[in-house]
């Protein structure tokens, strides 16, 4: 068997895959924007042991962290469209579910996943801030809200920063399965280009290189971010 790596095709696929970067990043960004504050709220409720809500959230986090992303995609992609269609019919809206960009499902699925992952990080980070910090801040005259916002949160962020960064990076990698929902992210675009000439190996090498680059750049950005946050860390 002689295999020739098709370089001209690889170049075309590379250009194609680059166009998918904004899509991949938008899924990551949406999941971050939804999951970061949600994760904080979940962590707060669970730490305060708010009755009922805290138990429900424990089950939610266990579910979101206990199932693989692919399985969640398969589940929600078969469950959500009929449910939404039903809701639209009930509400009498003039909107077809088939006009909905499947990226919305990706936002929902990764939002769920990231909120659970971030909540665990928030939980240990908030736990890591000595409770004396809050008490001291209140005793010198800050309102409880101020004390939380200006004393506890920055320190918690500093503690959680490495974990937040690494879980966001692994989420970036995790989004490469959204091509299953016909979303044209990095993987989706390159796969589409490959399908025409059955040049899958070239396509995957290209995707691999694109991810390596994006991930590498993001890792450096996160490193800078971490260094900025670390100054809040109580020594």
């Amino acid at each position: 068997m002689s295999f020739q790596f098709d370089f001209p095709f690889a170049r075309r696929a590379f250009a194609e895959a680059l166009l998918g970067i904004p899509v991949t990043l938008s899924v990551v960004l949406a999941a971050f924007l939804a999951g970061f504050p949600l994760g904080f709220l979940i962590a707060r409720c669970r730490l305060r042991r708010t009755p009922v809500i805290s138990q429900i959230l424990t089950v939610y986090v266990s579910f979101a962290r206990g199932t693989p992303v692919v399985v969640k995609i398969l589940l929600f992609y078969s469950l959500l469209p009929p449910a939404l269609e039903h809701a639209i019919r009930v509400l009498g809206l003039n909107f077809s579910i088939y006009d909905l960009n499947p990226i919305v499902y990706a936002f929902i699925i990764f939002g769920i996943t990231s909120s659970a992952t971030y909540s665990e990080i928030w939980r240990s980070a908030l736990n890591g801030v000595d409770s004396g910090q809050y008490e001291a801040a209140v005793s010198v005259g800050l309102t409880p809200f101020q004390a939380y916002l200006e004393v506890v949160l920055p320190q918690a962020l500093a503690i959680g920063a490495p974990a937040f960064c690494s879980s966001t990076l692994s989420m970036l990698k995790g989004t490469s399965v959204v091509f299953l929902m016909a979303i044209l992210d990095i993987t989706g675009r390159a796969r589409l280009a490959a399908a025409m000439g059955y040049k899958y190996l070239e396509a995957y090498v290209v995707i691999f290189l694109v991810y390596l680059t994006v991930c590498g750049i993001l890792e450096q950005v996160f490193k800078l971010l971490e260094q900025r946050l670390v100054r809040f860390r109580a020594s």
Partner: protein
């Protein structure tokens, strides 16, 4: 509900496949990870760089892509060495891909654990007459292992989850069988079938993390005894 039960019965025989993919890649990954961690700690400069590059590359590659790269790339790689294979076995490709991933990630865990064992432990062991090799094997490694245990537990759960990607290269694990069942029902039963799949993975994860927690608690106690006694 009855239908979901019948789906569960059909998927049940596929759980061992999922667990085997997970278990094999974890065991193999652990061995390779130990080697890579050793190279990064004690190797000469080129080897250290090589080990570091491997870890970085693996950490930056999405699992799906690793699966496909191994699946499509392995025959090509083998043909370069003069071994002709017609096609790649799905399960084998999946285990190789997951082993690569596990070894890259676990190498960092093991390295960190090794470094966190107090250097005095090794020196004390050598000073009471143990050979350097024996000191590492019977004093440093056990402690490092206990330190790494919670992370290794997370790793095996992560591998369980990644193994669900194996169906994309044709493995017939739980998800693979579910996908076949779904297409047999022309997609009509997709929601119930994948609900069952979700419950299976959720159950397996809860079970595994419970086992890990028990292990960590037990060995954690042993570990504190070791530390307190030393």
């Amino acid at each position: 509900m009855e239908y979901m039960l019948s789906v569960f019965v059909k998927l049940l025989p596929r759980i061992p496949v999922t667990l085997m993919l997970t278990g094999f890649s974890f065991a193999l990954g652990f061995v390779f990870a130990a080697g890579i961690a050793f190279l990064k700690l004690r190797g000469n400069l080129p080897l250290r760089i090589l080990a570091g590059a491997f870890i970085t590359i693996i950490r930056c590659t999405p699992p799906v892509i690793l699966f496909f790269l191994v699946f499509f790339g392995l025959p090509v790689l083998l043909s370069v060495f003069g071994v002709a294979v017609k096609s790649t076995d799905s399960n084998l490709s999946a285990v190789i891909a997951m082993t690569l991933m596990a070894s890259g990630i676990m190498a960092e865990m093991l390295r960190a654990a090794f470094l966190s064992v107090d250097g005095g432990q090794y020196e004390a062991a050598v000073s009471v007459g143990l050979t350097p090799c024996a000191a590492l094997l019977s004093v440093v490694f056990p402690q490092a292992f206990f330190i790494a245990l919670p992370n290794l537990g997370n790793m095996i759960i992560a591998l369980l989850h990644e193994s669900s990607l194996a169906y994309l290269i044709g493995a017939i694990d739980v998800v693979g069988r579910a996908a076949i069942l779904t297409s047999n029902s022309y997609g009509l039963k997709a929601a119930s079938i994948y609900t069952v799949v979700t419950l299976i993975y959720w159950g397996l994860t809860v079970l595994l993390s419970w086992i890990v927690d028990v292990l960590v608690l037990r060995t954690g106690r042993a570990n504190t005894l070791v530390t307190a006694g030393s």
